[in-house]
C-alpha cells in the first residue's frame, strides 16, 4: 500500500514537472509579445520608448526563459505561485475562484453524460438492431462528429437568443452584486454550457456501453441466467449492470481529460469564467505564471481522475481485488 502511494506520488511529481517545463517552453516560443498584447495596438504606437522598456521589464520579456523557469520553480516550491500579470492578482486567487466554476460545470456534465450515456448504451445494446438502437447509434455518431464549440454556438442561438430561456453567458447575472447571487442564478447560467458538454460526452460512453452490452448479452452467463428462467431485463439487472458498470466507470474517469478539453471551448463560447477561459486569456496575453499554473492544476486533476479509475477498478472487481490480497 505504501509502495502504491509512493509510486503514484513520484509519477505525479514527474508529470507536473514535465508539464511545467513544456508550458514554459511553449510560452517562450510563442510569437505573442505580451506588452503589445496587453496594452493594445493604439496605446503601443503612441507610447514612449522608455514606457515600452518599463512594460517589457514588468512582463519579463528580456529575462531568458530558463531563468524565468528557475525563478518560477523556486517560488512555486515555496508555495508561491506568483502573480498573474494579466489579472493583476495572485495566481492562486485567480485559479481557485475559477476552478470552482469549472469544477461545478464539469461535475454536472460528467455525471449527466455518464448516467445518460450508460443508460442509452444498455438500452441500445439489449435492443440491438431495433429502431431504438438505430436512433441511439445515429445520435452518437452525429455528436461524436460535432465540434463542441459549434454545438455551443447552436445552443446559444436557439435557447439563449431565439427562445430567451437561458442567459447568453457568464456564470452569474450581469450587474448583480456577488452577495445577491442565488444558487438558482448559478444553476440557470450553468445549464447551457453543462448541456453542451454532456451532450457531446454521451456519445463515447453510450457507444462503448452498447458494445459491452452486446458482449454481455451474448455471454455464457447471461445465456445460463436466461436458461434458469430469468427474463431479458432481469438478467440485465442482476448480471448485466455490475459487469457493465466496471468498464463504464473506468472510461468515464479516463474521459475527464476530454471533458476538461471540451470545457475550454465551451467556456470560451459562453464567456463562462472558468479555468478554460483563463487559460485562453493567459496564453494570448503571454501571462506565463497563470498559464503554467493552470496547466499544472489541470494535469493534476486529470491524473487524479485516472488514478481514481484505477483504484475503483481494483475495489470493484473481485478478480483484481483477491489477486492483490493474495500477493500481500
Amino acid at each position: 500500500m505504501a509502495r502504491f502511494i509512493l509510486k503514484h506520488i513520484v509519477r505525479l511529481a514527474l508529470l507536473l514537472f514535465a508539464v511545467s517545463v513544456i508550458a514554459f517552453l511553449l510560452i517562450s516560443l510563442s510569437p505573442v509579445d505580451p506588452v503589445q498584447a496587453n496594452v493594445g495596438q493604439a496605446a503601443w504606437t503612441s507610447m514612449s520608448e522608455a514606457k515600452r522598456a518599463q512594460l517589457a521589464e514588468y512582463w519579463g520579456v528580456d529575462v531568458p526563459i530558463w531563468q524565468r523557469y528557475v525563478n518560477w520553480l523556486t517560488s512555486t516550491l515555496q508555495g508561491d505561485l506568483g502573480t498573474s500579470l494579466r489579472y493583476n492578482a495572485p495566481v492562486a486567487d485567480v485559479i481557485s475562484w475559477r476552478a470552482g466554476n469549472t469544477l461545478l460545470l464539469m461535475a454536472v456534465a460528467w455525471v449527466v453524460s455518464g448516467v445518460l450515456g450508460f443508460t442509452l448504451g444498455i438500452v441500445a445494446g439489449v435492443k440491438r438492431g431495433s429502431i431504438v438502437d438505430k436512433v441511439v447509434k445515429a445520435y452518437c455518431f452525429v455528436l461524436a462528429a460535432t465540434p463542441t464549440f459549434w454545438l455551443g454556438l447552436l445552443f446559444l442561438m436557439v435557447f439563449a437568443v431565439a427562445l430567451g430561456w437561458f442567459p447568453i453567458g457568464f456564470s452569474t447575472p450581469i450587474g448583480k452584486a456577488a452577495a445577491d447571487v442565488t444558487l438558482l442564478d448559478v444553476a440557470h447560467h450553468m445549464v447551457l454550457p453543462a448541456i453542451t458538454l454532456s451532450v457531446v460526452g454521451v456519445a463515447q460512453i453510450a457507444l462503448h456501453t452498447r458494445e459491452k452490452t452486446i458482449d454481455v448479452m451474448e455471454s455464457d452467463y447471461v445465456r445460463f441466467a436466461r436458461a434458469r428462467g430469468m427474463g431479458t431485463w432481469e438478467a440485465v439487472r442482476r448480471h448485466g449492470l455490475r459487469n457493465l458498470a466496471l468498464p463504464a466507470i473506468t472510461l468515464q474517469f479516463a474521459s475527464i481529460s476530454e471533458i476538461f478539453g471540451g470545457s475550454v471551448l465551451v467556456e470560451q463560447v459562453f464567456s463562462y469564467p472558468g479555468l478554460g477561459q483563463a487559460a485562453v486569456t493567459a496564453a494570448l496575453g503571454g501571462d506565463a505564471a497563470l498559464l503554467v499554473a493552470i496547466a499544472v492544476v489541470s494535469s493534476a486533476f486529470v491524473f487524479g481522475g485516472n488514478l481514481v479509475a484505477n483504484i475503483l477498478y481494483g475495489m470493484i472487481d473481485p478478480r483484481i481485488r483477491r489477486g492483490e490480497a493474495a500477493r500481500g
Binding site: 452467463y221 445460463f224 441466467a225 436458461a227 428462467g229 466496471l246 478478480r319
Partner: protein, 310 residues
C-alpha cells in the same frame, strides 16, 4: 399424444424394443403415458448470404443447422446425444430451452411432460422443469459470489428457503460453506462442475439438459462426474447428455442418439451398440467401427460425410 393410450398404460418396454422410431432401455419409463420430452421434426435455420456465391451476387438463403430433428427423453433415463464438435449440438440445447437468436427461424413440435409447448410456455418451464447444466464456469457471473448465484433469484420460494435448499445441495455434493463466498474464478474445475450442477438442481427440475458437462476430464473422472446424473435419473428424472464423446456416452447413458448434419440419424438403446448388426444407420455403424476397441477403422461412409466421428 401420438400413441394409442391403451398401449401406453402398459408403459414399460422391453430392453431394446423398438417403438416411435427409437428403441428403449430398461430404465426408460413412460410416466403418465408420455415421454418426458418429445421433440418432433425440429428445424432451426438462419437467414444468411450464400457463402458459395460471389460477394456481389450472393443471395440470402436459409441455412438449417438443425434440420428435421426428432428425439425423445423418457423419465428415468440418460439419453446421450452424440455428435461431432461444432455440429450444432449446443444449438439443440438452446432450442429445447426456447433460447433462440432473434434471427432464427424455428419449426417443429416440442412436447414437455405431455404438453405441447410454444415460445411462452417454454419460457415458463425454463428453470421450472427443464434445467440446463452448462459446460464451464464461464456460465457463472464473474462478479457475483457463487452461493448467491446458485440460490438464484427465482420467484419460487423465499430467500431463506432457497438458502436452505442451496445448503442442502452443497452438503450433498461435498461443497463446503466456504465455497459460497468464492467468486467463480476461484473455483477449482471439480468444484465448478458441482456448482453448475447445484444451479440446475436448485430449481428441482424434471429434465436436465447437460451440454458437454465434463470437458477436460478423462473418461474415468467423467464417468464419476456423471454418477450425479445417474442418481438424478434413477430418482425419476430425465437427462439429455450432449457430448462429442461416444465412449463416455456408452459408459453412462441408457440410450444413444446419433447426431449428424442437424438431425438424429439413429436413436437406440446402448445395448444395441454391442455389435454393428443391431445398428441401423450407416453412420452409427461407422461410429461403432471407429471406437478404439474396434480398431479405429474409418469406413467409407464416414469420411464421405466429412465429419469426424467423435
Amino acid at each position: 399424444m401420438l400413441e394409442d393410450g391403451k398401449r401406453e398404460r402398459a408403459h414399460d418396454h422391453t430392453q431394446a424394443e423398438s417403438h416411435h422410431h427409437h428403441t428403449h432401455a430398461k430404465t426408460s419409463h413412460h410416466v403418465r403415458g408420455h415421454h418426458l420430452l418429445q421433440v418432433s421434426n425440429l428445424s432451426v435455420g438462419f437467414r444468411m448470404y450464400d457463402p458459395d456465391a460471389s460477394f456481389f451476387s450472393a443471395e440470402q438463403r436459409m441455412s438449417y443447422v438443425i434440420d428435421d430433428l426428432s428425439i425423445s427423453v423418457h423419465a428415468g433415463e440418460i439419453v446421450a446425444v452424440v455428435g461431432a464438435s461444432g455440429s450444432g449440438k449446443t444449438l439443440l440445447a438452446d432450442s429445447i430451452m426456447g433460447l433462440f437468436e432473434p434471427n432464427a427461424e424455428v419449426r417443429g413440435e416440442l412436447w414437455f411432460d405431455g404438453e405441447l409447448m410454444d415460445q411462452a410456455s417454454l419460457a415458463g418451464v425454463r428453470g421450472h422443469g427443464i434445467s440446463l447444466v452448462p459446460q464451464s464456469v464461464s456460465h457463472l457471473d464473474p462478479l457475483m459470489r457463487v452461493g448467491k448465484q446458485v440460490e438464484g433469484f427465482g420467484s419460487a420460494g423465499s430467500a431463506a428457503e432457497r438458502r436452505a435448499r442451496r445448503r442442502e445441495l452443497f452438503e450433498r455434493y461435498g461443497l463446503g460453506d466456504e465455497a459460497t463466498v468464492l467468486y467463480p474464478h476461484e473455483l477449482s474445475g471439480g468444484m465448478a462442475r458441482r456448482v453448475l450442477l447445484c444451479c440446475a438442481l436448485m430449481d428441482d427440475p424434471k429434465l436436465i439438459i447437460a451440454d458437454e458437462p465434463t470437458p477436460g476430464l478423462d473418461l474415468d473422472l467423467a464417468v464419476k462426474a456423471l454418477a450425479d446424473f445417474r442418481s438424478f435419473a434413477d430418482a425419476g428424472g430425465g437427462v439429455m447428455l450432449i457430448t462429442h464423446d461416444i465412449e463416455l456416452a456408452l459408459r453412462v447413458a441408457d440410450r444413444i442418439a446419433v447426431f449428424k448434419d442437424g438431425a438424429i440419424v439413429e436413436e437406440t438403446a446402448v445395448a444395441n451398440f454391442a455389435t454393428p448388426d443391431t445398428l441401423e444407420h450407416p453412420f452409427s455403424k461407422a461410429l461403432w467401427h471407429a471406437l478404439p476397441e474396434h480398431g479405429f477403422s474409418v469406413e467409407g461412409d464416414v469420411s464421405a460425410g466429412g465429419d469426424a466421428p467423435c
